[in-house]
Subunit: 205 residues, 2 copies
DNA sequence: TGTACAATCCCCTAAAAACAGGATTTTATT
DNA sequence: AATAAAATCCTGTTTTTAGGGGATTGTACA
């Protein structure tokens, strides 16, 4: 049986690279590519790939979101996340949204083929480096914050003071202060500076 | 005359992609690739490419630094910066360090060939999107900060208070305060939160 | 040898954030 | 209906920042 592969990435060079890497793989059929979420979903209405290689950073919707959508409509398709970054947060997010694998863009041909094979087999695959990161970061918590906290966090990062945030959200300044305290505690940050730095690096903002 | 091309990038998929895109270009000779700064410099001791395609994000030294080094030792080599990001700060930095061009990783084959040709011609090249960004951001200043300010900024982002920074740098707290004020002014930030957010996004931290 | 700029230091005041302890009311979820 | 979690509010105190105004020393550059 041939494995039908489709790729979603907004970089020509990556698309070309992967095509070149996979072209001579046995039992693989290159179905083409999409460069954004919209044209990917359009493609899927008429075609059925077995595996989608999905970039996490897309121009319109994020790859994470797209992954969720695809899985909801076509649960049989195996999705392998692609990214330049071996950040825990990315890996977790896409795997939580139904992906079956995660491969870094500096993966070798062998790793890529391995990933495809493993996922076709019904198993999950993490590229070596990704697996290392996950292992290393076991226990290093990614804070779970609430809607309201996220809202406050975002306004803090925009430079608003507690007072201004209170006015904007029609709540008391003491409430804002409480949210702020909780944010500091959840991120284990000593002050606003660290809070914003960590939140930025963990893609909360 | 054939144009000898060398590429420095730490992503196999990108290397493959570019090779695939350039393979059938007329008058181009693919010399190979390096995946980090060290092996790039080693290669240059024995080989003389005309053009180096240089990724900005490298694992060891940053592409910006490497660009500077290459230009210092081999001023004749034309360097084209490669990046996923069309951020003003990147474009400016690499162009200021001797690069002759800047191409995004989602550039088409034509753009890439155009860039190579233009640079071989002795001219500067910015990819369409990069040029747009630069144009759009004319006047939107990227602050110029001093060594000491950068040092203080970094310590602020790590959560140190003025007092702690003063102790660490063996200077008075009032000096730290002054640096802090200057940072806020240069970034046009109202408070620490915005300062850190802007500094992070502009890659100062 | 000016001049600009970086780096250092100082005073004062007001505003904001951090820290410590609460409590009540909604809103989900089982 | 009970429980948990989220969101709201409160009274304090202390520490830290932000904003305003300075000044001095050294270095680099033209």
């Amino acid at each position: 049986m041939t494995t039908r592969i489709f790729i979603v990435d907004d970089h020509y060079m990556i698309i070309e690279g992967i095509r070149s890497l996979l072209q001579h793989g046995k039992g693989l059929e290159w179905m083409g590519h999409a460069m954004n979420a919209t044209s990917c979903m359009a493609f899927l209405q008429t075609h059925q790939p077995h595996i989608i290689l999905l970039d996490i950073n897309l121009p319109d919707v994020s790859g994470i979101e797209l992954c969720k959508e695809i899985k909801a409509k076509y649960p049989k398709i195996g999705i392998i996340g692609l990214s330049s970054y071996n950040q825990q947060s990315y890996i977790n997010k896409i795997m939580d949204n139904g992906a079956s694998g995660y491969v870094l863009k500096n993966a070798t041909k062998e790793e890529l083929l391995d990933a495809i094979e493993t996922v076709m087999d019904g198993q999950k695959y993490l590229s070596e480096e990704a697996a290392l990161i996950v292992k290393k970061n076991v226990g290093s918590k990614i804070p779970i914050i609430t809607r309201r906290e996220k809202e406050v966090l975002s306004l803090i990062s925009e430079g608003l003071t507690n007072n201004q945030i209170a006015t904007k959200l029609f709540i008391s300044i003491t409430t804002v202060d409480t949210h702020r305290k909780n944010l500091l505690a959840k991120f284990e940050a000593k002050n606003t500076a660290t809070l914003i730095r960590m939140a930025t690096h963990l893609e909360f903002i």
